[in-house]
């Protein structure tokens, strides 16, 4: 009986912690950024000619970026400016319009890249270039500088 209640207790604790992790916008957006970066590595690897051009893999990476564009805006609620070593800069909340404009730019460029349906390395370069630029554009004003 004790064993059963202990296991129920532990599983409850476990589920609760999963629920907390799942609902913490900082952890969620950090995971989303990791996925975004992994997708960038796929496309960047092709552009640097470290990997052969693969249209399907490139499109899958573009779709990952689309997910970022769709979800990122909601993952920076008021009050999520500290904890978990967040690199989100205070400007996100003091200049929300500017931040949203940068996100919109990213979204627009991702949509254009998907619509272009790149079928060659040159086409991928042309489609992904503006997206990479949009990544940087937002990091420049809205991400804290790492001090290492």
């Amino acid at each position: 009986m004790l064993k059963v209640s202990l296991s129920i207790f532990l599983s409850t604790v476990f589920m609760a912690s999963v629920a907390v992790a799942g609902s913490d916008p900082i952890l969620e957006r950090q995971e989303l950024m990791e996925d975004t970066r992994d997708a960038a590595k796929v496309i960047g690897g092709m552009l640097k000619e470290e990997q052969p051009f693969d249209a399907a893999a490139a499109m899958a990476a573009l779709e990952t970026w689309k997910k970022t564009a769709t979800q990122a805006g909601e993952l920076f609620p008021e009050g999520s400016d500290s904890g978990h070593d967040t690199e989100a800069k205070a400007t996100i909340w003091t200049d929300r319009d500017g931040f949203n404009a940068k996100l919109n730019e990213f979204s627009t460029q991702v949509d254009a890249a998907i619509a272009a349906n790149p079928d060659s390395l040159e086409a991928l370069n042309a489609a992904a270039g503006p997206v990479f630029k949009a990544c940087k554009g937002c990091h420049e004003g809205y991400r804290v500088e790492k001090q290492d």
Binding site: A40, K41, K48, H139, E145
Partner: protein, 297 residues
């Protein structure tokens, strides 16, 4: 008492003669070669040098860079106010001769015969060729003029004594190349020129000694940030530096602003990378080749 007077007298004479020896003097007028200015080469050097990153007017939104200055650099020595180098006759350097410009870049000496503070990195620009300097001056002359007046630097004692810079130059101003490369390797020679000269990479990526000059034994091995917080990375090909970066990674980073791990460029390097992206690909390749060839530290 008499001995003290003699010692003091000798000390004054020694200081006086040192100041005399190190007083600002320009180059002779006939030193410049006969050279028709190549404005597009001047523009290339302008990007390599990142002139606009410090001298660009903070309010400029124009198509061409407006070099009105105005940036305040808060350093341990005090506040430096970056001057106007636009071709404005009264406020900028529009009234300068080509020789005046060469003296500033090569020797850190102003047209009115004063030492410049080395916040202006002439310690690197001194390695630039006269013809390149002439081209750069010709390019600067094509840019829009700004009438913004310069502000005086606000430096602490003893750094507010300009004459002392002459002594500093005696120790720290040297046009010799830092790293030796095979004389037949034109790519490495170009890369060395860009990094050690116009690119002035060492000014931030190399630590400084107690005099404020670069510690050449730690060339490009990383340094505390001149802006006070954090560190400027080691960019030698060691495990602490760029060992894990291929030459292609460095080229791609300079062109795109993305590290091999696909993180984006940060800090002061954001502006530098934008300038590097304006260079022809062959220049970025030369820089990358040089950075892979220097001693790993």
């Amino acid at each position: 008492m008499k001995r003290l007077a003699i010692i003091l007298g000798l000390a004054v004479m020694a200081a006086g003669s040192l100041l005399l020896v190190t007083r600002p003097t320009g180059l002779p007028a006939d030193i410049l070669p006969a050279h028709p200015a190549d404005i597009s080469n001047g523009e290339r050097l302008f990007h390599a040098g990142g002139c606009a990153s410090c001298h660009g007017s903070t309010d400029s939104g124009s198509e061409f860079p407006i070099l009105g200055g105005g940036l305040a650099m808060d350093t341990p020595f005090g506040i430096f106010h970056v001057p106007n180098i636009s071709p404005h006759g009264g406020s900028g350097i529009g009234g300068w001769s080509t020789l005046d410009f060469v003296n500033a870049m090569h020797l850190g000496v102003s047209p009115d015969g004063r030492h410049y503070y080395p916040a202006f990195p002439y310690t690197s620009y001194t390695r630039m060729g006269f013809e390149d300097l002439m081209d750069l001056k010709a390019y600067l002359d094509t840019l829009p003029a700004s009438d913004r007046r310069n502000d005086a630097h606000e430096l602490k004692f003893p750094w507010n004594i300009r004459a002392g810079i002459g002594l500093w130059k005696l120790l720290n101003l040297d046009a010799a190349a830092v790293v030796s490369v095979p004389p037949q390797d034109s790519v490495l020679i170009r890369g060395r020129y860009l990094v050690e000269g116009p690119g002035h990479c060492g000014e931030c990526h190399t630590p400084r000694n107690w005099t404020g000059g670069l510690d050449y034994s730690r060339w490009l091995a990383g340094a505390p940030s001149p802006e006070g917080e954090g560190k400027v990375p080691n960019i030698t090909p060691s495990e602490k530096g760029l060992a894990g970066w291929s030459q292609g990674d460095i080229e791609y980073y300079l062109a795109s602003g993305f590290t091999p791990d696909f993180d984006t460029v940060g800090s002061s390097m954001v502006e530098v990378q934008k300038n590097m992206a304006m260079l022809p690909a062959e220049d970025r390749a030369a820089i990358a080749a040089y950075l892979k060839a220097i001693p790993p530290l």
